[in-house]
């Protein structure tokens, strides 16, 4: 994969993410806040962005969505140990995490 290919992929992923997030927020804000793990302020901001703004935001050489597993326990749980209840456990832990918000 060349550098320019990678940039293209990142842009695509960014745009996909932003569009999906916007749709989710417009459909049901509270549920979207839970699913995306973002704060209400960010959700409201994303909701109001125009398509032109979305594209502008997506064109960047960095990923806009960040990895949500800052805690290694959750990540280990989802990937390593293969018990039936791993998903439940991870859900409980993830719901307890703080949201991404403005500082």
């Amino acid at each position: 994969m060349t550098d320019s290919d990678m940039m293209m992929e990142i842009r695509d992923a960014n745009l996909n993410y932003l569009m999906l997030a916007q749709q989710m927020i417009r459909a049901d804000k509270a549920t979207a806040i839970f699913r995306l793990g973002i704060s209400k302020e960010i959700a409201e901001l994303l909701e109001g962005l125009s398509n032109a703004q979305l594209i502008k935001l997506a064109v960047s050489n960095m990923m806009l969505a960040r990895f949500r597993f800052e805690d290694s326990t959750i990540l280990g749980m989802l990937t390593k140990y293969n018990k039936d209840k791993a998903i439940s456990h991870a859900t409980i832990l993830m719901a307890g995490q703080p949201v991404e918000g403005f500082v």
Binding site: D28, A30, T31, I33, T73, M77, T91, L93, A95, V99
Partner: protein
């Protein structure tokens, strides 16, 4: 006495329909809508094609502390608390939204009937609000789990970090496993 408003009434009916479809019992409907009991019963019959179940609601906190229900109750309560804290909604709206999210979560694990019903979820929220149950963080994984408010929860380890020896080994699970092995053989 509040004035009768058609819009308000239609909203109430919408809410009642949503709750009935999610499996609410009559007591929950009476507590969260302003509709009369007669109308709620009528609505219930129309939607479900049968009379609402009679009798008292389950009133024991113990159910929420047994192994599998405790996990499901903890999932629901964590989602509910997240919504209260971050999404700016409350009351019955938060309960129904959290319950829908919980159902989707429970579906991933098995396609059987969900462990926690809407009425149970509502009861759980009431128990927590009246300080009979609370959440306690597990000292092993730091997750928040439903515990009895009057138990000694000092060194609490959750049901998932420390699974009880016979947990989940029900007759049903055994039959399902036998069926699966018979199919693969």
């Amino acid at each position: 006495m509040s004035q009768k408003s058609v819009v308000n009434e239609s909203n109430q009916i919408q809410l009642a329909i949503e709750l009935i479809n999610l499996g609410a019992r009559l007591q929950l409907l009476e507590a969260h809508t302003t509709l009369s009991r007669e109308r709620l019963i009528k609505l219930y019959k129309e939607l479900k094609g049968k009379s609402p179940p009679k009798g008292m609601l389950p009133f024991s906190t113990d159910w929420f502390l047994t192994w599998q229900p405790n996990i499901h109750a903890s999932i629901f309560l964590n989602i509910y608390n997240f919504l209260l804290k971050n999404a700016g909604i409350e009351g019955i709206v938060a309960i129904t939204k959290a319950y829908r999210l919980y159902l989707q979560q429970a579906e991933i694990e098995s396609d059987e009937e969900p462990v926690l019903s809407l009425t149970r979820a509502w009861t759980l929220v009431r128990f927590v609000e009246s300080n009979m149950l609370k959440t306690q963080s597990c000292k092993c994984c730091n997750g928040q789990f439903v515990v009895d408010a009057y138990d000694l929860n000092h060194d609490y380890v959750c049901n998932l970090c420390h699974v009880p020896s016979r947990a989940g080994k029900t007759k049903k699970a055994k039959e399902a496993a036998e069926k699966a092995s018979a199919l693969s053989a």
